[in-house]
């Protein structure tokens, strides 16, 4: 990432955000998914039996909270999957590649432009959820939610990390995909590891502790950075412009 020109990255981010704002369907779809993901946890929390044992109450709380993590994966994965192949289909990629923009700057700008609204939205929904729980849920359930420190930490810590994972996988697919539909379908693969972690937590293979949350957080961060580096390497101007792999010099 040496010689990175930050103003160019900012230019890419600003243009992307401006484009989102101008396309109402993107904004609507970005809002619909979080709202849908909010319904199930809210219902689950409100129907949770307040008189149950502490462990059964904890289990009733963990699942909906972790379920909300998926929200941080689905929205960015579709946006990221569109990001490069979409430019190619619009015919805007070639003019972009003729500028002094480096591939790392382009990938970083695109990734940031997807990450920023996705994570902001996820945090906003989490906050809304916690406000609803604090105001309207039964006192015991509310206490169980707010005392479930590792899960809440995981929620807030993992949101940007799983979103980052989804973005990087989505962009990796987008760099190589030949059309938008293929990219968006393959981009959904990004959510598989997150679902796997949730399943492991629910099934008790992994205990939701602070240490586990921090370990997973560190692991995800490393995975994100490695994947970002890989995507930057996958970024081949020749392949993007001609559809053929760079043949190199004889």
């Amino acid at each position: 990432m040496k010689n990175l020109d930050l103003p160019r990255v900012v230019a890419v981010v600003r243009r992307e955000l401006l484009d989102y704002r101008r396309k109402r369907s993107i904004v609507v779809s970005m809002l619909i998914f979080p709202v849908l993901f909010l319904v199930e946890p809210v219902v689950a929390i409100f129907v949770a039996p307040p008189s149950g044992s502490t462990s059964s109450l904890d289990n009733a709380v963990i699942l909906p909270l972790l379920y909300m993590l998926l929200m941080a994966v689905v929205t960015p994965s579709t946006l990221a999957a569109y990001s490069i192949v979409g430019e190619r289909e619009q015919g805007t990629l070639e003019p972009l590649l003729t500028t002094p923009l480096r591939q790392q700057e382009f990938v970083l700008g695109k990734a940031a432009a997807v990450m920023i609204p996705s994570v902001a939205l996820a945090y906003a929904v989490y906050a809304l959820f916690l406000i609803c729980v604090a105001l309207f849920a039964h006192r015991d359930v509310s206490a169980a939610v707010f005392h479930d420190g590792p899960t809440l930490l995981a929620l807030f810590l993992f949101a940007p990390l799983v979103a980052g994972w989804a973005v990087v996988v989505g962009m990796g697919v987008s760099v190589r995909a030949t059309e938008v539909r293929v990219a968006q379908q393959l981009g959904m693969l990004a959510s598989f590891p997150v679902i796997g972690v949730i399943v492991l937590l629910i099934s008790g293979v992994i205990q939701p502790t602070f240490a586990a949350a921090l370990e997973f957080g560190a692991g995800l961060l490393v995975a994100d950075l490695l994947a970002l580096r890989l995507v930057s390497r996958l970024f081949d101007r020749e392949r993007l412009v001609t559809g053929s792999k760079a043949s190199g010099r004889e």
Partner: protein
Amino acid sequence: MAVPATLSIARKGHKANSATNTRPWRVFVDGEAVATLADRDTASVTVPAGRHTLRVASTSILRSRDLSFDARDGSLLRFSCSPRSPAPIIFTRWLFWLLVTLVRHDLWIELTLDDDVESVTDPRQQTLPAANAATSSSTVTTSPRATLTPEARAIVIANMAAQRHLDGPSVLVVEHLTKRFGNRTAFTDVSFEVGYGEVFGFLGPNGAGKTTTVRTLGTLISPTSGSATIAGIPLLPENGVAIRQKIAIMPESPGLYLRLSVRENLEYFAGLYGLRHPAPRIAEALDAVNLSDRANDLCGGLSKGLRQRVGLARTLLSEPTLMFLDEPTSGLDPVATLEVLNLILALKARGVTIFLTTHRLDEAERLCDRVAIMNTKLRTVGRTEDLREQLFKRSLMVRTLAPLSDAAQLFAHIPSVEEWRVNTDNSYELTVTDPTVAAPEVTRALVGAHADVLSIAESQHSLEDVYLELIADDVEAPTP
């Protein structure tokens, strides 16, 4: 025949500042932009003999004074220019900007006439000396547009077209460049040069490898073999950013963000070119393509012709040393085509170096100083008139009211007529060595034979004739 005078204008750095200033300056002769000057470069421009004014400008309001001078036939006049302020830091630059714009616009650049060398009889044989010892490079920037009248312009173009390849380095040097995609050959063994300030036409049928050549030179794809130097920078993977900083490419489709306004599109690309304060440059680019009043329109609402104009404005943003225009009129209606062609002519008048790919021969003939014709392999490179002369013998077309009674006898006795043939009953095509010699002789012979002559004219072969002669028999090249 009058021999134009040559102006050698050296751009020096400020004596207190050794840092390189990357903003190119423009050289104006009699108010017309004729060349661009990179830092510590030397530009060479020819002008017809007479009194002229010279000005060097960084922007429209930061410039030198107008320096008047008398140019004699074949003389060499050396000028030097340098910034009056070292302006190494933002504070100084802005302070100086304010002072200059508040007081006088022409204080920014110091322009002086260093010496007026004795006449040079043949400018083609003249080697331009380095401006001075401090000049780190002696790049010669040439432009054929430092003239006032069409006649003088013709002299300058003729002179510079030849001089460009004898005296100065080229903005683009391509040597044996080849690109293959697996077993398919996009283009092979392509070699040519493009001079500074030149409009170079790159012609060929669909699939000839024109776009792939532009993409290769624009560092979008890597060549299979061969080499190229673009604005003095070798075409190597590690030089991609540096090369792209010096060039601008307008692909066949302008590729605009349709949900963004014209201004927003330009602001985005200005950011990618690293322009810190792009507003004046954007305004200038919009003005150049006559789109100032549409700056806030969404690109999605513009016609195809207007979008091409936005694409052209985008290429102007970075003040590129070399501009690639890939089939800029493709798919446009005649009115929009005319608009785009006029814009390219305006760029040409400003001294912008343009590499124009097209398969529209009329526009190449109208716009280009030289053309290359390729169909996977390069067929030829040269000025259109030279190509015509190389490929076709010169001829006169004679039309008479009635058929000549004994044409064979008549034409056989004219020494400058090599051969002749009858096109129709009353029309004769004479192959001649020199039409200016042959025409009077033929006229006298026809009058002597009491022929009723309707017209005698030199037969003009178009670029299309040249193109068809070179390309017609080729099988269309495979598209990558």
